[in-house]
């Protein structure tokens, strides 16, 4: 599997090591060490995925994440030394798709990257409806009354997963497995944060969701069409 990966990390040793591992797995890494230069590097490299350290000199990772997310839906995986609630949630809310806590094993990292890149390999023509939305899975587009709604790939995957089985209530664990590719139970905050982000884009009133409905104590399900 080919994939360009932009590594944004100020620790040169770690960046080099990441490069070794990524190359060994067949990715094409490029590097930037400064938060201020990250956006320029991103535009230049046009990566398929960004590995982003949260603690950076200059602009911090959160800010970089927000800037990249503002102009692209490219998958962003955060590298963080802090698994404390606030850091992770802030990172996810600023637009990161997934996070990985230092220290991590190379295999773990590669698995996460693959999971984020995997979705481009399944172009099955499919039309789905959820609420008053129409989803074209192959065309990767979501429309309401002919009006297109921009979603990141992860948000799109989340919506598609819910829309494919509108009768099913998805627990957060199931969503983590289906959308993020976690095989073991992981941080369910990932799901919470991304459902909030998705709702802010697709719901008419995010306070009273109709597309992605919360089932108290269980998880989420697609709203009635």
């Amino acid at each position: 599997m080919k994939g360009r990966v932009l590594v944004v990390d100020d620790d040169t040793a770690l960046a080099e090591m990441l490069g070794i591992v990524l190359r060994g797995e067949g990715f094409e890494p490029s590097f930037v060490a400064d938060g201020d230069k990250a956006l320029a590097a991103f535009r230049e490299a046009k990566p398929d995925l960004v590995l982003l350290d949260l603690m950076l000199p200059g602009r911090d990772g959160i800010e970089v994440c927000r800037l990249i997310r503002a102009e692209s839906g490219v998958p962003i995986v955060m590298l963080t030394a802090k698994s404390d609630t606030v850091d992770v949630v802030v990172g996810l809310e600023s637009g990161a798709d997934d996070y990985i806590v230092k220290p991590f094993k190379p295999k773990e990292l590669v698995a996460r990257i693959r999971a984020r890149l995997r979705r481009s390999e399944e172009p099955a023509p499919e039309q789905l409806a959820i609420g008053d939305l129409v989803i074209d899975v192959a065309g990767h587009s979501v429309k309401r009354d002919g009006q297109s709604i921009a979603l990141t790939p992860l948000e799109f995957d989340l919506l598609v997963a819910l829309a494919r089985k509108p009768w099913q209530v998805f627990t957060r664990e199931v969503l983590l497995e289906q959308v993020w590719g976690y095989r073991h139970a992981a941080d369910t905050r990932l799901v919470n944060v991304h459902v909030q982000r998705l709702r802010s884009k697709v719901e008419k009133d995010p306070e009273r969701p109709e597309i992605v409905v919360t089932v108290r104590g269980v998880g989420y399900k697609a709203g009635p069409s």
Binding site: M17, V21, A81, K82, G217
Partner: protein, 683 residues
């Protein structure tokens, strides 16, 4: 002033006593009923008392809580008492004074009257009267004489007194000629009491008494003073002459005094109450303010202060209070600052350590992957490097977790979870290790939902720790995971039948980096922090994590959690000491009793139906476990993650006999002993 009615009417001394006695009787009757209410009487009575008391409860509560009300009420009561007492004394003195004066005046008046009557009787040749009276004959003259006498004597009185003349023998009072005479429309017979008449009849001097003067024309009877004596009329016949002095004037004076006193007293009482209210308010207001501000302080509003005015005691209270609040605020801010610094330090250390560790980790993995190409020494080195990096990582992670607890930065994310799911996941995770050890993990009590508000991640970490420990130290015997729900608590107990715990170790296993034998080589994979973190996790839930164990009898670790996050825990659905251990120890006790008569060991253990849980898979094990002699190499030093508890074998069989009794006492106390629970939680 309703009690004012109890003030005796002047001229009726007897009435006063009777009224007082009546009041006394009433009081005793009341006291009797109150006493009865206090004593446990019949159920009907108790019901009645409860029915009476219920509407009074708010008032009673107000009474208890409001010092101002109490002070004002007691001031009112006491001043009322004082005023009443004063009133009685003053009224009594005024009345006595009035009566004494009246009596003196009356006596001299009546003495003069009697003298006149006597003179008239002894000098029958009174001018005028004799000529008219002689024609009527003796009896007739006597009759008119008396009438004249009464009229003459009464003429000086002008209503200030009345004169009554009665025959000495009351039997013939019916005959008209010797009938009673009276001036001023007074009923002569009814106004003079019989007792006085008897006295007058038998004696010779003047007698007096108080009586009520009755009128023939239906006027209200008036109290009065009656003075009488026995005299002889012109015919030498005895008759009784009475002077009746009505006390209307005195009564008027007295009632005026009473009214004045009552008004003054009422005002006094009301004013005293108002003064008490004001004075108490002066003291109570600052106290209430202090209480209110103390409440706000304890609600973490540390900038609250009392207003201080003046230099009195209240002001001193306020100053001291404010100083205390100031110091508290400073201390709390210092602690908060320290805590913040600590947290930040931990966070920084975390980041600074983790980044290079990540690089090392990745490098080691790359080397480890490529080890097949190396020579054996380098390859083995690569393996060791990778393995120890794992250990280093988990140690670092545990240290950071502990320091998060220490900094108070650990947050509970509780939601309703079914512990059966957690247990299932934990057992799935521990299955590979259990297979290697040849251990079966059995679950008991999972036939009903075990739902509690808990942080799934933390509970899973605790249970994984317990189960992995049990498998590692279970010596290949079964591990039983038991779940229970009761009251407001859920519990999971993990029982193993391994080497168990020595006396006192049940609490020490939770100590950080605790090892049973410090001299033992540290080859286990555990960080020594697993159970410490587990205890903190349990405490974060408001739950308990406790251990029980006996040497050779295995151990049981029990996690108890409240069903809802804010509910305090009162007990656990599962006893800390498993039943099968008691049975075993009972067997051992019987054996021991037969041998040495040592019945001490189970003395304080409540006997339980031993056979109830016999369906549990208890691995065959002799009551006294087999001992290897001598301090052999510790077989429990097993590699594996998260093992905080390292339980040694009891190294010497000879120690066993001595250590068991004390251990029995220790474990006997364990199930109910709050102190052990406290010490386990308190750390």
């Amino acid at each position: 002033m309703s009690r004012g009615g109890a003030a005796p009417k002047p001229g009726k001394p007897g009435v006063r006593g009777g009224r007082a006695a009546g009041v006394g009787r009433k009081t005793t009757a009341w006291g009797g009923r109150i006493l009865q209410e206090g004593t446990p009487g019949s159920p009907v009575l108790r019901l009645f008392v409860r029915w009476v008391r219920r509407p009074l409860l708010p008032a009673v509560r107000l009474w208890r809580r409001n010092i101002q009300l109490r002070v004002v009420a007691s001031t009112l009561l006491m001043s009322l008492g004082v005023v009443l007492l004063l009133g009685f004394v003053v009224i009594g003195q005024v009345r006595n004074g009035l009566l004494v004066t009246k009596e003196k005046a009356s006596e001299s008046q009546s003495a003069g009257g009697f003298a006149v009557a006597k003179d008239k009787a002894s000098a029958p040749a009174a001018p005028g009267g004799q000529d008219d009276g002689s024609s009527d004959g003796r009896a007739g003259s006597s009759v008119t004489w008396r009438s004249e006498l009464v009229t003459q004597l009464a003429s000086g009185g002008q209503g200030a007194f009345y004169v009554v003349a009665l025959s000495a023998d009351s039997e013939d009072s019916g005959s008209s000629n010797r009938g009673p005479r009276a001036s001023g429309g007074v009923d002569p017979v009814a106004s003079v009491p019989q007792s006085l008449r008897d006295n007058v009849d038998q004696g010779t001097g003047a007698y007096k008494t108080y009586a009520s003067i009755k009128y023939l024309d239906g006027q209200e009877p008036k109290p009065g003073l009656v003075i009488g004596t026995k005299l002889k009329d012109v015919d030498g016949q005895a008759y009784q002459l009475y002077y009746l002095f009505p006390l209307a004037q005195e009564e008027k004076t007295l009632s005026l005094v009473k009214g004045t006193l009552a008004t003054a007293g009422l005002f006094l009482v009301v004013l005293l109450g108002a003064i008490a209210w004001l004075v108490v308010r002066q003291v109570v207001t600052p106290v209430r303010m202090a209480a209110q501000i103390a409440e706000r302080l304890s609600a973490a509003k540390l900038q609250e202060r009392m207003k201080v005015t003046g230099e009195d005691d209240i002001a001193r209270l306020g100053e001291a209070f404010n100083k205390m609040a100031q110091n508290l605020q400073i201390k709390i801010q210092q602690l908060e600052e320290l805590s913040r610094m600590q947290r930040r330090f931990v966070s920084d250390v975390s980041h600074e350590l983790r980044t290079p560790l990540t690089t090392v980790r990745m490098a080691a993995d790359v080397i480890h992957e490529a080890r097949v190409d190396f020579d054996p020494v380098t390859a083995r080195s690569a393996e060791l490097l990778a393995g120890q990096l794992d250990r280093f990582e988990s140690l670092l992670a545990d240290l950071l977790e502990i320091s998060r607890f220490d900094a108070g930065a650990a947050a509970l994310e509780a939601e309703p979870i079914d512990l059966r799911d957690v247990v299932r996941r934990v057992i799935e995770g521990a299955e590979p290790l259990a297979e290697r050890k040849g251990t079966r993990i059995r679950v008991v009590g999972d036939d009903q939902p075990v739902v509690a508000e808990a942080d799934a991640r933390r509970v899973e970490r605790v249970l994984r720790n317990l189960v992995v420990n049990a498998v590692e130290h279970g010596e290949g015997r079964d591990v039983v995971v038991r779940m229970g729900v009761a009251g407001g608590a859920v519990a999971v107990a993990v029982r193993d039948y391994g080497v168990g715990l020595k006396p006192g170790e049940a609490t020490r296993v939770f100590n950080r980096f605790w090892r049973a034998d410090p001299a033992r080589a540290r080859t286990t994979g555990g960080t020594g922090l697993g159970l410490s973190i587990a205890v903190e996790d349990a405490r974060l839930h408001g739950g308990w994590l406790q251990a029980w164990g006996e040497p050779g009898g295995g151990s049981q670790f029990r996690l108890t959690l409240p069903r809802t996050a804010d509910e305090p825990l009162r007990g656990s659905p599962i006893p800390l000491e498993p039943e099968d251990s008691r049975a075993a120890r009972e067997r051992a006790r019987q054996g021991a009793a037969a041998e040495q008569g040592n019945g001490l060991r189970l003395a304080s253990v409540p006997v339980q139906p031993a056979a109830t849980r016999s369906s549990l898979p208890v691995p065959p094990r002799p009551p006294v476990p087999p001992r290897t002699s001598g301090p052999a190499a510790d077989p429990t030093a097993l590699p594996g993650g998260g093992g905080a508890r390292v339980v040694p074998r009891v190294s010497d069989a000879r120690v066993e006999g001595e250590s068991v009794p004390s251990q029995a006492a220790d474990t006997a106390a364990a199930p109910a002993a709050a102190d052990q629970e406290e010490s386990a939680r308190g750390r």
